[in-house]
Amino acid sequence: MDELDLLKKDWQKKGDDLPKLSYNDIYQMIWKKSSSIVKWIFYISIIEFTLPHLFLLIPSIHKNLAIYEALGLQNFMLVFSVIQYSVIVYFIYKFYIRYREITVLDDSKNLMKKILLTRKTVKNYVLSSLSMILFISAAVVFTIYLKDTIELSNYKLFLEIAKKTSVEKVKPILMFAFTIAGLGMTLLLGGLYFLLYGILLKKLKRNYGELKKLEI
């Protein structure tokens, strides 16, 4: 193809037309912060690993957790927390191992594959967290359904409602509230997560798909 030969000839002659950076320009550049997607994935993942636990530090939320006590779910929650933290430790470890394997010195296909694998680890973590939220909400709703009386002394808001109405009427309200809270949180966190990564990795996924398609 002679058009391409012509292009090649012209391309290789390029040089004078290109910008020229001085020693100082480059010196200043090397101390700037990278804004690569790997950095982004790292920061977002750290937020994903820590955010749900930071919520627990807010006093009002902590107090609201007294509902578990009121429902007699302390032991269940204790066992559940142990499982939850083991899962988190497992995912953080796996994330760390995969993150460290990412190197710009890899060939393009491998680099993309490793980034996508790292992201998959976080995705699995998010999915497991979300299912845990759903599971807890379901357990709470189910327990409320089974209980005849609910010890609400620690739970101010519902105590007020309970004063005005009977326990029978409080039960559906509580069940409804926990269903909405559980579903709402799952949808919100899940939606945010998939939107964020969808935008961030759109280009990478497209390019990886193109390279992979070649191998078939």
Binding site: L6, L7, W11, S22, I30, S36, W40, N207
Partner: protein, 164 residues
């Protein structure tokens, strides 16, 4: 030690900066984006530099990291509209060097180049830089056979853009 490393790196980069500029012209549409991508590639090169043992040429390294940064790590969207100013600076065609048809052809070729996808651009870039298929396949992580197949497709695609 660090100072020496820093000095060696900057000197090497300064001498070979055209490689990065060429990557940037292919993958960006305006001067701001060009500078931004240049900076990201420079940061990636500098971060990887301590692992550079000198068993391959510094420029070989730059091709790999440059392409990886452009098609994988670089986050910003490149959908910005090319500005006339930038195009004329980067793809300035010297009228006295070519006859009119060649000049016209080159203009169309550069325009067609810009319309290619990320991977296609990488292939054409390595081809224009006179890299052989072994190097191309190693850089992109595909087999040599597939690199050839893909390259032929890209050339065909360019032809179609040129002669619709």
């Amino acid at each position: 030690m660090t100072r020496e490393l820093e000095h060696n790196f900057i000197t090497e980069l300064e001498n070979n900066q055209n490689i990065i500029h060429k990557v940037c012209t292919l993958y960006t549409n305006d001067r701001d984006a060009h500078d931004d991508l240049f900076q990201e590639i420079t940061i990636q090169l500098w971060k990887a530099y301590p692992k550079f043992r000198g068993d391959s040429k510094f420029s070989t390294w730059m091709y790999r990291i440059g392409i990886n940064t452009a098609i994988t790590l670089y986050r910003k969207s490149k959908r910005s509209v090319p500005t006339q100013d930038y195009e004329s600076v980067i793809f300035k065609i010297k009228a006295d060097e070519y006859d009119e048809t060649e000049e016209q052809q080159l203009k169309l070729l550069y325009k067609a180049l810009k319309q290619l996808g990320d991977i296609d651009k990488a292939l054409i870039f390595l081809y224009l830089e006179d890299k052989n298929y072994t190097e191309i396949s190693e850089t992109l992580g595909i087999t040599e056979v597939n690199a050839r197949v893909k390259m032929n497709r890209v050339k065909k695609k360019l032809k179609t853009i040129l002669n619709p």
